[in-house]
Each structure stands twice: as structure tokens, then as C-alpha cells.
Symmetry: C2
Subunit: 650 residues, 2 copies
């Protein structure tokens, strides 16, 4: 890739970003779009729908950028909770790390790379016609003494990152402790979930639980509630909730048109009346269903409540049975956080479904690109013409043809990638977790590994799936193979940060899909039930971490990546800070449990970087340097082990 190509891409994407920012600051001010851009403020009643026209609405403003950038951590913590704070800390942590690495990279390593003549000399008279590779380590001469600067940079940056990681972990764990100290006693803290309750022939689950806990926890046991399979009741209650909301809304706005045809040919009826009757019906059904609950299928699981949080902690931490697969205890999730659909009370079933999900995930991760390539292959021009004959005339125009053949495969890949987080979330949900937050945490890990495999390794190691997998079956050769393959993709990943990174983050600000959805449904919906979304961490954390991985692995290979990465992180900081004010509201609180994922991902990136460095120095015939690098991954892993000992399970 030439410098000019990068500059073009840079120009286009900067333009797009500015455009997005401008559009956002205008469109978000239109009252009709409030529910897309400021649902949170709407829900709180902070932002009223102003219907009177106002010229200010059409002038783009920049005040929100400054506000978002200057927002304090206390503010984020108090308004969006610890998870949001942790999320913002990921970005600010990366900003700190890559500012440091950026200074070293741009002012020290970049000049050294340029001075090399391994590929050929840089033509300073016509900079834009140079290959990007001239700015990478590939241009440093083989055996050159200058490589020791890269060597030192690897050591210094690793030490800096580890130091930062330690401080950050310490900070997060102190915040977690402060969170627990400050939180008021809540029911779920007094409760544990018990699964795998053994039942004798003559007694019910409830009796079994009662006997067990009154016997073994006589002073602290308070009460219990056996879990029943009551999907019918749950559906009825949901229906009643929707109806009552709708009814409230109708009653609060009496000016609205409340007559409607029921059915296609039904008579005109008063909606308030109609809904009221329906609600009474449902209420009766609920009563009936509730009285039958005790007859509903009992599961071998129960929520057991204790008189004190200490009592619950004891029951949770102590093994309850000589058979560890019975009386399995775990902390009860927050009431809003419980996820019922795949609830399973048996140890064996949970374990097997977990194994199945792990296998499914591994297969999905490894084999994902095969169907993508097949579908991409299907959508060539001639195929499109046979499928959509009306497009024939357009497709014959060369320009459109080129655009479609050029962008369609990429679009398909992006669409496939978009559905990965929901798939992973679904897989995690059938894995036996009881709470949304655990599911999200597990999905976050899955998406992260998926991204690293399917974007990093699939790009770096071209070839069949089998050949990629087989590389990891020969650990001895990994550094050598990485050293050849990774620098070769430097320009691709620089461009990737600019195109995919900048665009995806701007589209996050612009909320294209919710906007389109809102535009489409606006005409059909009469009652606007406002639902405040929560940030899907399992979609966005892996994205940021993946850019972190790119930054860490490429900082000494191609330091040119760092300025673009820093720009991405600044954008991300501003945009997410803004979205936390206006859009997202936390549904539940894991209290910062996402941090270990971040920590592990950083450690993995570091070790990967060391492996590449070892390979590179061997390739550059500086074997002393590669030998001297060997302790670094070991020390990094030891540091990680120490952090785990020091901070887990906080």
C-alpha cells in the first residue's frame, strides 16, 4: 500500500466522521428523533418534547463534545454505575498506554525504520509515492545495531503496560469494594440459588430444602422459594404489563384518538374500555394460574434466603454436601438480572450443555469464514442478474458493477460479523448461566476470541482453516511464522483502524440501525413505549480490546498505526461518554466484573507481541536479542499469575 492510498482513505474517513458529527448534532436535536438519541433523558423526564420550532435546531453545535470529553468519573459512576466506569476506563487506559507507546513509536522507532535501506531508501522528495512498508521494521537492515532500539522499546513498553495494568486493577478492585460498602442491603445479597437438590421419594423439593437448611443453618436460615416451571404465568403477566402501560398512556393523554376498529371488520369501540376489559380477563387468568403454581412442575432448584448477608455468604462458600454435584450453591442474581428461558437445575445437564456450547463456539470461531466465503462467491454479477432481473440494466453500467462487486463481499462479511455477538450471547445463554450479566460476560469472552481469530489470525495467516489450526499445533514454529506473516499485514491493519475503526465508532454515535428502525415504525406505532437501551458490552468491549491488541502487536513493527489508533480512542471516549449521558441506561450491575477479561486480553496481546518480536529478531539475524527476549513473556505471565492471586476474586 502506498502512502497516497492511506492518505486518500484517511481523507475519506475523516470526512465521513466530520459529516457524521455534523449530522448527529443536527438530527439529534429534532424532537422526533429524541427517542433514538436521548431516550435516557426522555425517560428521566429531563428532556421535554419541545414542539415549537427553533432556528438553533438546525445549527450544528460542538458543546456536547466538550461536555463528553470533560465528564468526570464520579459523574459516570453515579449516573451509569460501575460497569460504565469500567468501560470508560478501558478506553482511557488504552489512551494512556498508546500515548506513551506513540511517543516512543513516532519519535524514536519511526525515524529508525525510515533510515533503513532493507527494502529500499525512502524517496523524501515524493513522500506519498513511498510504500507504507518503508515505515515498518521490515525496512531496517538485517543485523543492524539499530534493532536494539526496537528491543529496548519492547521491554520499556511491556514494563509500562504491566505497571499500568497493575494500577488499573488495583483501582478497579478498590472501586468494587467501595461499591459493595456503599450499596444498601438488597434482597439478592441475602439469597443464594441452590441447584441439584436431592429429593427422596416421600418428600417434595420444598420439604427437602426446609429440612436441610433448618438442620444445617438453624440460626441464619430465613425462608426459601422453590423454582417452578411457570412459563404460561410469565407470559400472562407480561401481557398484562403491556396492556396496563398502554391503558395508562391512553388515560394520561385523553386528547388522542381513542377509537379504533377492532379486527379488520370489527365495530368501532372505545379503546380504554376495550383494554380495561381485556385486562380484567387477564387478571382472572393470572389468579387462576397463580393458584395452580404449587401444582406446576417443581424444579430441583430453590432460592434460599438468610437473615444476614453473612449467613448467605457462609452457605455460598461452604460445600453443602459430600456429593459436590448436589446442593450446588451460587449467589442469587439481582431480580432484574435473572434469565429464565434455559434454566436447568441438574448439574449433569448444565455441565453437558456447557461442553456442547464450548464445542459449538470453537467450531463457529474456526469455521466461520467458510460460509462467508461461499456466500460471497454466490453473489457475483451474473448470479445477481439471474436472481434480480430488474437490476440487469443498472448492473451493465460499469461503475455500478464495480461498486457492487467491490463492496458486496465486504458488506456480506460485515453483516455476518454483525450477527456474531447475538449468536454468542445465545450460546452463552444456553450454557447454564442464571443471569443476564453472566451471559454477557461469557459472550464478551467468546466474541473477543472470535474477533482475534477471525480478523487477526485469518488475515495474518492466509490459507485454509486446517493450515491455520495446524500452526498452533506446532508451538515451536509459531514465532517464526508470526514474524514472517504479521509485518506483511502492517499496512492492511493501519488502513483497518482508519476505515473500520473510525467508521464503526461514528456509526455508534449516529445509531443508524435504531434510527432506521424508529423511522420505519414511527408511522405504524401509535403508542410510543419508550425503551431505554443498555450498552451491549459483549459487542463493544471486544471491539476496543481488539484495537488494543493491534496497537500492542504493531507498535514496534509499524509505529505509524499509533496516531490513528489514538484518534480512534479519542473518538471512542467522546462518543461513549456522550452515549452514556444520553442513550444508555444500565439494566443491571456486574460491578466491574468485565475487568478481568480486559486484563487477560492485554496480557495475551503482550505475549503475542513478544512471540512476534522473538521471531522478528531471529529473522533479522540478531539472535542475542531474541534470546534476551525470552524472559519477557515468562515474566509477563508471572505478573499475570501474581495479579490473579492478588486481585481475584474481587
Amino acid at each position: 500500500m502506498l502512502v497516497s492510498a492511506l492518505l486518500t482513505s484517511l481523507g475519506i474517513n475523516s470526512g465521513l466522521c466530520v459529516l457524521f458529527f455534523l449530522l448527529y448534532s443536527i438530527i439529534s436535536k429534532q424532537p422526533s428523533n429524541y427517542e433514538v438519541y436521548v431516550p435516557r433523558l426522555l425517560a428521566k423526564g429531563n428532556s421535554r418534547r419541545r414542539s415549537h420550532f427553533n432556528l438553533e435546531r438546525l445549527i450544528p453545535s460542538t458543546g456536547w463534545i466538550k461536555r463528553a470529553w470533560k465528564r468526570s468519573e464520579e459523574d459516570i459512576l453515579s449516573s451509569s454505575g460501575l460497569d460504565a466506569l469500567v468501560f470508560m476506563r478501558i478506553i482511557s487506559f488504552s489512551l494512556r498506554v498508546f500515548s506513551f507507546a506513540g511517543i516512543i513509536g513516532v519519535f524514536v522507532l519511526l525515524p529508525v525504520n525510515c533510515m533503513g535501506t532493507q527494502l529500499h531508501e525512502i524517496d523524501f522528495t515524493d513522500l506519498s509515492n513511498n510504500s507504507l512498508d518503508l515505515f515498518t521494521i521490515s525496512n531496517v537492515n538485517i543485523g543492524s545495531k539499530w534493532l536494539w532500539i526496537h528491543f529496548s522499546a519492547v521491554y520499556i513498553v511491556t514494563i509500562f503496560i504491566c505497571y499500568q495494568l497493575y494500577n488499573e486493577y488495583k483501582y478497579i478492585s478498590s472501586e468494587r469494594i467501595a461499591y459493595f460498602y456503599s450499596s444498601k442491603p438488597q434482597p439478592h445479597q441475602f439469597t443464594i440459588l441452590v441447584r441439584g437438590i436431592p429429593v427422596s421419594v416421600c418428600s417434595s423439593v420444598s420439604e427437602s430444602v426446609e429440612t436441610f437448611f433448618t438442620e444445617f443453618h438453624p440460626t441464619t436460615y430465613l425462608s426459601h422459594m422453590v423454582v417452578h416451571r411457570t412459563s404460561k404465568l410469565r407470559n400472562l403477566i407480561n401481557e398484562a404489563k403491556t396492556l396496563s402501560k398502554r391503558l395508562l398512556h391512553l388515560q394520561s393523554e385523553p386528547s388522542q384518538h381513542t377509537y379504533r376498529h377492532i379486527g379488520l371488520f370489527g365495530q368501532r369501540v372505545d379503546l380504554v374500555d376495550h383494554y380495561g376489559k381485556k385486562l380484567v380477563d387477564i387478571e382472572q387468568s393470572v389468579r387462576l394460574e397463580q393458584s395452580n403454581v404449587s401444582l406446576a412442575e417443581e424444579t430441583r432448584a430453590a432460592f434460599v434466603s438468610f437473615k444476614s448477608r453473612y449467613g448467605a455468604a457462609i452457605a455460598f462458600h461452604l460445600p453443602q454436601s459430600t456429593n459436590p454435584t448436589q446442593w450446588v450453591t451460587e449467589q442469587a442474581p439481582e431480580p432484574d438480572d435473572v434469565y429464565w428461558p434455559f434454566f436447568s437445575s441438574s448439574f449433569m445437564r448444565t455441565w453437558i450443555s456447557k461442553l456442547v456450547v464450548i464445542v459449538a463456539c470453537i467450531l463457529l470461531t474456526i469455521l466461520f469464514l467458510i460460509p462467508v466465503v461461499v456466500v460471497q462467491g454466490l453473489t457475483n454479477l451474473s448470479q445477481l442478474e439471474t436472481w434480480l432481473p430488474f437490476l440487469k440494466s443498472i448492473l451493465t453500467i460499469t461503475f455500478f458493477g464495480q461498486v457492487i462487486t467491490g463492496y458486496l463481499p465486504n458488506l456480506i462479511l460485515q453483516l455476518f460479523l454483525k450477527i456474531v455477538p447475538p449468536i454468542m450471547e445465545f450460546l452463552s445463554s444456553i450454557q447454564g448461566y442464571i443471569s443476564h450479566s453472566d451471559i454477557e460476560k461469557s459472550a464478551c469472552k467468546k466474541v473477543l476470541w472470535f474477533t482475534i481469530w477471525n480478523i487477526f489470525f485469518a488475515t495474518v495467516f492466509s490459507g485454509s482453516v486446517l493450515s491455520k489450526v495446524s500452526i498452533f499445533l506446532e508451538p515451536k514454529n509459531i514465532p517464526a511464522k508470526l514474524a514472517v506473516a504479521v509485518p506483511a499485514q502492517a499496512s492492511f491493519f493501519i488502513a483497518y483502524v482508519v476505515t473500520s475503526g473510525w467508521t464503526s465508532i461514528s456509526s455508534e454515535l449516529f445509531r443508524i440501525i435504531p434510527l432506521i428502525f424508529s423511522l420505519v415504525t414511527r408511522c405504524c406505532k401509535n403508542t410510543d413505549e419508550l425503551e431505554v437501551p443498555s450498552l451491549p458490552y459483549h459487542r463493544d468491549i471486544p471491539k476496543i480490546l481488539f484495537f488494543g491488541l493491534l496497537g500492542i502487536t504493531y507498535f514496534f513493527l509499524a509505529p505509524l498505526i499509533l496516531p490513528f489508533l489514538l484518534a480512534y480512542l479519542c473518538l471512542a471516549y467522546i462518543i461513549f461518554s456522550n452515549q452514556f449521558i444520553n442513550v444508555y441506561m444500565p439494566k443491571y450491575e456486574t460491578a466491574g466484573k468485565f475487568w478481568p477479561i480486559v486484563h487477560n486480553s492485554m496480557i495475551f496481546s503482550l505475549v503475542l507481541m513478544h512471540a512476534i518480536a522473538i521471531g522478528i529478531f531471529t529473522l533479522k539475524k540478531l539472535s542475542i536479542a531474541s534470546t534476551l527476549l525470552f524472559p519477557l513473556p515468562v515474566l509477563t505471565l508471572l505478573f499475570n499469575a501474581y495479579c490473579r492471586k492478588r486481585f481475584l476474586p474481587i
Copy 2:
């Protein structure tokens, strides 16, 4: 190796065994050897030193063999504890497994192997001149359908072993539970050991502990005892104990000669008097030292006692601090079981010494054979002649020369191997364990891996250390390399079972080293302080498990190994059963905590066997079979994971 060579070796070793048995049954009856052969009975007072001569003493008897073989488990459990029972169960478990495998191997696989013509046909007219390899799988023709019998045997034996492992684990865990139910309340069950106690400037460790536990465990906390560094006091007390024992002994046997010269030119004194005075001196020193104990260096560790076992369990299981490296709790060991010398109260020091020990162990395990080979190289004939010139005349005789050059290297290897268990025990002891039993458990694992590496892999993969290690860095090629190398060593390992196995077990019966030691010291010692030894599990469990590994990996390659293995196991059962009656007395009780090591070792052996089988079937061009074998190691590992979930931490 020819069949005749094996038969010769078999003859010699059977003869040796019979000789050892005969000698044992005579020598052990001599009263002068009672303290070597029946120290346990002596200590209990069951066996009196009969000084009158008796003809029966010179006639070998066989009654003890029958007694040892027929001994019931309840008997072992009640007299030697759960650990001894687990030890005997290892042998009986192996007996069961290899009887089953032996029937399949000898009656099904062996005929199939013999029928093959891959190497060449068996000469049935002159059996003893056939190579042993003709009885192995190497003789089955490439691509032969008969290999499916081996394939089925691998599956059937794996399933059988897993089934047995599950039952055995279940039995052991039920025994463990029964042991805990039946044991009377003991002080160490009410106590935990706390390390890493944080101390503020103005308070002592003791105050710190008192404040902490009265605050957080007000209802259950009883008392505490801070650990002091009192090595001087300990030495004095040990000295006093030895003296008082000696004194008691002298007083109880007034007939003995109690006058002795003190020093080389000292005057004759009454020993009772002399010891009495010395004891008084020591008593005074102890008093003085004890009064200074509170001034001795306090460590940041304490034993904290609770009012109930439940209270102790709560304090042990619940994390005590927001910083997991402080207030680290563990169950207190039995008083007899505490090991002080390398006691460390700081988390960091324990962790670092653990890491150092792990590295040392790995290095020792991998590089052990290098010094051995060097030393073996030094002891060639000409070297010996220069070192020990007086041997020159003997060494020139060809026979002695041959014996020495033939046996000396082997003797050196055996001597080096003998010192490995103590070295590993030492390494484990500085690893931060507080109790003898934990040290022994950890040493047991280390010795096991050491044995597997230095006997199995070092024999199988000849070549430099680096080449051996590098095999494991390419996991993909392991089965292929194993398949070539392992069957080639079949005859070596068959001979190994006969020579090393049978001899070592007979020498265990005969207790050569204690016998020699007793003979040497008998003339110098006047007071025979009887010390009943305990079985060094970390020396003997790995030995038996290693033979188990040989049996499992070779049962389908060279079924001929199984009869010899069964003979070894029968001998081991009889001999150890006998030694538990007469010799060994448990010093402390881990209550069967050695079993997980046995379980893991069996699982490792199975997976290793599967890897070999996969490689063999590929080599024999039966790739369907090797593909169909792939699920087997996966299922075995899943079975292991299930067992861990089901039985740990019981």
C-alpha cells in the same frame, strides 16, 4: 531380545525372589533383627525379645505369606489408617485392571500377534530362539484386518479402567467421609492457620489477630497463638526428650552396664547420674528460653482456634480480607504433622519459593540424566585403575573387568535414582507447605513425573535432552513418534518389570539398607532407641504407578508384559501387607489424599496409550481405526473432568 534371554533373566530373578523370601523368613525370626523386621510389633509390646534358642527359628516358614495375602481391609484400616488402605487399594486396583487386561492380552491379542508375519514367522519348533518382538504388535501385518481386535481391546480396556476408576474414587471418597464422621473431635480440626497478617505500627501481631477475629467472628472465635521463631527452644526440647528416653531406658534395665568413660580420657561415671544432671541443666535452659519466648521474633502467622469445627470451617472457606494476599487461611495440620524448618508467613515469599522450586524440579527432571551419564563415563576401567591402584590386579582378570564395566554404570544410575525421592521431598519442603503430609503428597507428584520422564521417555526417545523436549513442542507429531519408538522398547520394558520390579519389591521385604545400618550400628549403640518407620509414600506410590503406566501403554503392544506385571503386583500386595503389619506405623494421616494422584496418573497413562494407538494404527495403514480412536482420549479427559467435579475436594 530373544525369548531365551528373557527366560534366563526370569530364572535368575525368580531364584533371587525365592532366596529373598527364604532368607527373610529365617533372618526376620532372629531376635537381634527384630528392630529391623518387626519394629512395629516391638513398639507395641506384642513381640517380646525371646532370647532362648529355638530350632524353629532356623526353618523357613510360609505362614506369613498367607496371613499377608488374606488380610482384610478393615484390619488394615483399623491398624494402619486410611493412607495405608489407599496404598493397598492402589495395588489391588492394579491387580484387578491387569487381570482383566491380561486375559484379553494373553488369550486374544498374543495369538493374533504370533499369527502375523510382518517381521517373520514364529519358529514354533525352537520357541526360545525367537525374538520377543514376534510377540508384539510389530509382527501383525500392515493393513491386516486382525488389527481391529487390538482396536476393540483398546476401547474395552479403556472403558473397563474408567469404570473401575470411578468405582474406586467413589469408594475412597466414601471411606474418607466415614473417616471424618468417625473421628473424634481433635484440636487441629478446630484450628486454622492464618498467614500474611497485616500489622499496623502501633500494635503487635497478637493484638492484630485478637482485634480481627473478635470483630469478624465474635461468636465462634476462641483463642489464638502467634507463631514465634524459636529454633533454639526446639533444639533444647528435642535434646531433653532424647535424654529422658535414654534415662528411662537405663532405669528400666538396671542389669545393663551403666558405667561408661565420658570423653576419651574422662573418668568412669554413673550414667544415670550423669544423664540426670544433664537433664536438669537442660530443663533450666528450657525454662529460661520459654520465659523469653514472648520476646522472640514474632512471625506474621498465627494458629487461631474456634469454639466449633463449623466456625473453623467458615473462617477457612470465606475470604477474610479484600486483599487476598493478607489473612490467608488454611486448615491447621495435625500437631505431629507440622513441619517448621521452612515456615514462611509472607504470601510473596511462599509464592516465589514455590516458583523457584517448580523451576528447579523441571530442570532436575529434564537434565537429570546428563550428570549420570558423565559419572558413568568417568568410571571406566582405566579410570578406576588410576583411582584405586590396589584394584589393578583384580581388574586385569577379564571376568571381574566385565562384571564391573557391565554393572557399575547401572549401579550408579540406581544410586542416583535412590536419592531422587529425598531430593524431591526436600524441594517440596521449601515450597511453603506447613505439614509433612502436604510435603509428601507434593513430593509424590514430583517423583512420579520424574520417573515417567527419566525412565519411560528417556528410554523410548533416545537422543539428546533437547531433542526429547522438542518432541513435546510439536504436539501434532507426538503420536507418530511414539508409535515408532514405544514398541521398539517392548522387550526392554518386559525385562525391566522382571529385573527392576521383582528385585526392588523383594529388597523392600528384606529391608537391606536398614539391615546393614542396624548391623553396623549395633556394636556402637548401647541404648537401642526403637524408632518405628513410616512408609515413605512418595517413594513407593510412584513406583507402583509407573508399573501401572507400563502395563496400560504396553498391554496391546506387547501383551507378554502382563503376566510379569501381575506377578509383580501379587508380590507387592503380599509384601506391603506384611510390612504394614510388622514394620510401618503411620506418623500422620492425610486421610486418603493420595488417591487423586493415582487417578490422574491412570488417566495420563490411558491418554498416552491412546496417542500410541493412534500412531500405531496410522503406521499400520489402518487410518479408519486411528480416526475412530480420536474420540477416546477426548472422552477419557471428559470422564476425568467429571470425576474432578464429582469427587473433589473430598
